[in-house]
């Protein structure tokens, strides 16, 4: 009954861009960040630790802005996806 985050995200309609609207400004800053709260607070599990560096699964992004405000070092360059791209809620 309980669904994984992947299954949850599968219920949202996306039109994916080929380039990311979320960019880590400096991976070295993430290396020094001890808490790495982005790994937990993102409601779409966009941020993942892979081989020691932060991987950004921007295709999952629900454009909420949590990482933009929550990154302790303001290390995420956060833009809106290009017009027409990204999520399109059916219910919202």
């Amino acid at each position: 009954m309980s669904k994984s985050i992947e299954e949850k995200l599968f219920t949202i309609r996306y039109r994916c861009d080929t380039e990311s609207h979320l960019i880590i400004k400096d991976q070295a800053v993430c290396q020094r960040c001890t808490d790495k709260p982005c790994l937990s607070f993102c409601p779409a599990a966009v941020y993942e630790l892979r081989n020691g560096s932060i991987h950004v699964a921007f295709e999952n992004c629900v454009e909420c802005g949590t990482c933009r405000i929550g990154c302790p070092y303001g290390n995420i360059e956060w833009r809106y996806p290009k017009g027409g791209f990204g999520i399109a809620y059916k219910i919202g």
């Binding site: 309980s2 669904k3 985050i5 299954e7 949850k8 995200l9 219920t11 949202i12 039109r15 808490d35 709260p37 937990s40 607070f41 409601p43 779409a44 599990a45 629900v62 454009e63 909420c64 802005g65 949590t66 933009r68 405000i69 929550g70 302790p72 956060w78 833009r79 809106y80 996806p81 290009k82 017009g83 027409g84 990204g86 999520i87 399109a88 809620y89 059916k90 219910i91 919202g92």
Partner: protein, 434 residues
């Protein structure tokens, strides 16, 4: 695309559309730019729309708009780990005649509302992202979009780009929200046959109920859960302040999954299938976080201006009123033939004399109070209330005096003694009164 308009509105949510509708009706040439595939594509809310403020724009709107259920019963549940203390009110007064509020879905309501502005003559362009405001000195003179040759100019630009107001930041309306000025809400729309919804919630056909949930689901963080009834879905959500979420290391969707397992909620949700997951930030800073509202060539409205009354789950109604007031300000300037910097400040004055300022001023100390008494309000009080009710209802051989003494002792301990209880009552009162 003609490159000059009387007014440009960035964002086709309730605030932007209310502004566009007002200006288009007044005969102005209005362009609305929306980055989503359609108005509402990017928008999420818990689910309650209030009638009054939209009625100011479209009389009898609720007889035509796509809505879910008029709300006949509204509840607060205070949960501890296993129990639920419930208070609520059910009355036909909410629904007879003109209903007071309704559940709704933004991806359905927003397109309908936008269509009303279109009908009044506004031009709405979707799938277009405004990347920056165009400036001449300190005056906003237009917007740059991500379309080819996408610069558009206007006498007035209304910034209605929502909680992540990148444009508000560009124009210096605000520095940037802090993590203690926004909450993150995760929400699930869960489908359930309408007969089951009506049976489980004890509802007449077509009518709805709402439950606000305080206590254990937010795991000590400042937050609020909700469960609302739609026609054939339930809206279940949980919002927590971002600073608390960050510090907790919790995953927001795990918090929501845990909430579903609470004994008071589990059976209401049983068998309901996930139809859509969503997440969104809510501005929670109140009046003290409200940015500068206007400057030469621009005004800022709705979520972009922190216009949310979290105590009463109001947001879309504040958005609609702020949009209308911004629209009326532009109309007045157009009539006078002068778009002077002072003219734009009339919008800030209009907000200050509206219910938006009045209500947010009343609660301006509340975010600080909650922050200072987080553990008490979010954990201890829901628990002591549950314990107290248990003592009251539980019948055994112990004298009633003992049960009732235990209630008083529990409350005093939670608040830190008699003096603490009095101080808390005083501070709490101050926090919700100007």
């Amino acid at each position: 695309m003609s490159e000059r308009f009387d007014a440009i509105v960035v964002g086709a949510g309730p605030a932007g559309i209310a502004a566009a509708l007002t200006m288009a009706r007044g005969g102005l040439n209005v362009l609305v730019i929306e980055r989503g595939e359609f108005p509402g594509a990017k928008n999420v809310f818990g689910g309650v729309l209030y009638r009054q403020q939209f009625e100011d724009l479209i009389p009898e709107w609720w007889t035509k708009a796509p809505l879910e259920r008029p709300i006949v019963e509204q509840n607060y549940w205070l949960l501890d780990e296993t129990g639920a203390a419930k208070i609520g009110h059910r009355s036909r007064r909410y629904v007879d005649g003109k209903p007071n509020n309704f559940t709704a879905m933004r991806a359905k309501f927003d397109p309908w509302f936008a269509a009303q502005a279109e009908e009044a003559g506004a031009l709405i362009i979707c799938e277009t992202c405004v990347t920056e405001l165009l400036m001449e000195g300190d005056r906003v003179v237009g917007v740059r979009t991500d379309r080819e040759e996408g610069d558009v100019y206007a006498e007035a630009v209304i910034i209605a780009d929502g909680v992540n107001s990148l444009l508000g930041k560009q124009v210096g309306a605000h520095r940037e929200w802090a993590p203690n000025e926004v909450s993150l809400v995760v929400k699930e729309s869960l489908s359930l046959p309408k007969e089951k919804i009506e049976d489980r919630f004890g509802l007449e056909e077509g009518e709805g109920a709402t439950i606000e949930i305080l206590g254990s689901p937010s795991q000590g963080m400042i937050g609020l859960g909700f469960l609302y009834t739609n026609k054939e879905t339930l809206s279940l959500g949980l919002g927590v302040m971002l600073d608390d979420l960050k510090a907790s290391g919790c995953r927001p969707y795990d918090l929501l999954e845990n909430m579903k397992q609470h004994p008071a909620l589990r059976k209401l949700l049983q068998g309901a299938e996930l139809k859509e997951y969503a997440a969104h930030l809510i501005p929670e800073g109140g009046l003290r976080a409200m940015p500068k509202l206007a400057g030469p060539g621009w005004m800022i409205v709705g979520d972009a201006a922190q216009m949310v009354n979290f105590v009463h789950r109001e947001g879309t109604n504040l958005a609609a009123t702020s949009g209308r007031l911004a629209g009326e300000t532009v109309l007045a300037m157009a009539k006078s033939g002068s778009f002077s910097p002072e003219g734009f400040q009339e919008y800030a004055k209009a907000i200050r004399s509206s219910f938006i300022q009045r209500d947010l001023a009343k609660y301006q100390r509340l975010p600080g109070f909650l922050h200072d008494h987080k553990d008490l309000v979010m954990s201890k009080l829901p628990r002591v209330l549950n314990d107290s009710l248990y003592e009251w209802f539980n019948v055994d051989e112990r004298p009633k005096t003992d049960h009732q003494r235990q209630i008083i002792e529990g409350m005093k301990t939670a608040a830190g003694g008699t003096w603490g209880l009095l101080k808390l009552a005083y501070q709490g009162w101050r926090a919700i009164n100007e």
